[in-house]
Symmetry: C2
């Protein structure tokens, strides 16, 4: 079953699984982490941190949705990850002793717990398992970004859109159980799949007409998983897309 569930495959290949960071910790260790939490809220559109800014700590998202992007020379933004409930972020710059390499902005009202640099580094030193987990996660993230590179560099717009719709839907599932569908702005969705807004619109329309998705005002819902996967399959041929039995949600 494991390898025949395409959704699970997607999660393995395109999800950071940063909620896994706190697994295998003792009650006491979890409490020690909790005690260094400083609750903080971000309104839609406000930024958790800025490219080139000096890192001050990390954020554990309690609830919300944020996009992490790079400003590519020329002014465009390229989103390369969407974080939500349970995700930890902001540790890359901190660990690499560099400035933030990217910007993180709330795309929905976000409640987070901030851990200061000092406290976070202390926790890492005092809780060996945490450091192990972080190391493991960083190594996993490498694979996720490598996968993303492959898709963005080699796949046509429609395939990229189909894939990211499936990925983003999972993210929204975690965020709010998909109550309101996928509500990414067209701008953000375009910057996620590496296309222009207008061009994305064309693909969305095509998908809608083919009955793969439905759109009510802004919200996108996937209405036909089989055929959405078929788009991936048409131009892909890996073992991952073999069965289509269990991709209904």
């Amino acid at each position: 079953m494991k390898n025949h569930d395409p959704i699970r495959y997607l999660k393995n290949q395109f999800d950071f699984k940063s909620d896994f960071l706190f697994s295998e910790l003792s009650k006491e260790e979890v409490n020690r982490i909790r005690s260094s939490f400083e609750p903080i809220r971000f309104k839609k559109g406000s930024k958790l941190f800025y490219e080139d800014g000096i890192p001050t700590g990390v954020f554990l998202i309690e609830s919300g949705l944020t996009k992490k992007f790079k400003t590519v020379m020329g002014g465009n933004e390229q989103i390369f990850y969407i974080y939500t409930n349970g995700d930890l972020l902001g540790y890359h710059a901190l660990l690499s002793n560099e400035r933030y390499q990217d910007t993180c902005e709330a795309i929905e009202e976000t409640k987070a717990n901030f851990i200061s640099k000092e406290n976070f580094l202390k926790l890492l030193d005092n809780i060996p398992v945490l450091k192990e987990n972080l190391l493991r996660n960083l190594a996993h993230e490498f694979g996720v970004l490598a996968n993303t590179i492959g898709i963005l560099a080699q796949k046509t717009q429609n395939v990229r859109l189909a894939l990211f719709l499936l990925i983003v839907e999972e993210r929204y599932r975690k965020y709010d159980h998909l109550k309101g569908g996928i509500r990414l702005s067209r701008f953000d969705l375009a910057n996620l799949i590496g296309a222009t807004r207008e061009s994305l619109g064309r693909s969305l329309k095509e998908f809608k007409e083919k009955g793969l998705i439905s759109i009510e005002s802004k919200a996108i819902r996937i209405t036909n998983y089989e055929r959405l996967f078929a788009i991936l399959k048409r131009e892909g041929s890996n073992q991952m897309w073999l069965n289509e039995q269990n991709l209904r949600r």
Copy 2:
């Protein structure tokens, strides 16, 4: 000076700096690492490890050139990094406890030192600084891949080519002091910049006619850095390209 040297900027943004891994180690620690080396050679075209294979250890390249790529659904390969002298590789899968997520293949005769999984994990446990460095490197690599995503997703073929020529040239500089120019196969270069071989050919021809590069049989040499940078600049507008004084090599 630091921020005004575009080549240095490229190195920071697109180089893993994995040679930095062994910095700040004591003589004794370096020796401990050395003593677990098992020399191994790879002929051009042979593989250090395979996607989906079970990780057995890590490789420290003594001399040579290898490409790391993913097989993207559909059969194409997407190269996302080129490793050379002094680079350590193979630790991602090992640390994330996953199978190899990518394939690494020698594109030139490569001499490496292998460290078995067991030994490597032992070294990490016994040499705290090594683990710190690895953590730091992984965090840095994240930024490099994010940069790569931005370029591949947002830039036109000519910009991607210009940029990767500059990056790859630095890699060859480290490999053999650029003795024979850049000798990547057209196939590999295309898979690095995310283009087809034929389409790459057109861009190369254009660059050649404009005097940016010269091509003798297979080898590419950059002949005009200013104008190659100008291609990046035309479509980019970051602080990185401000001065062009010191980009002559």
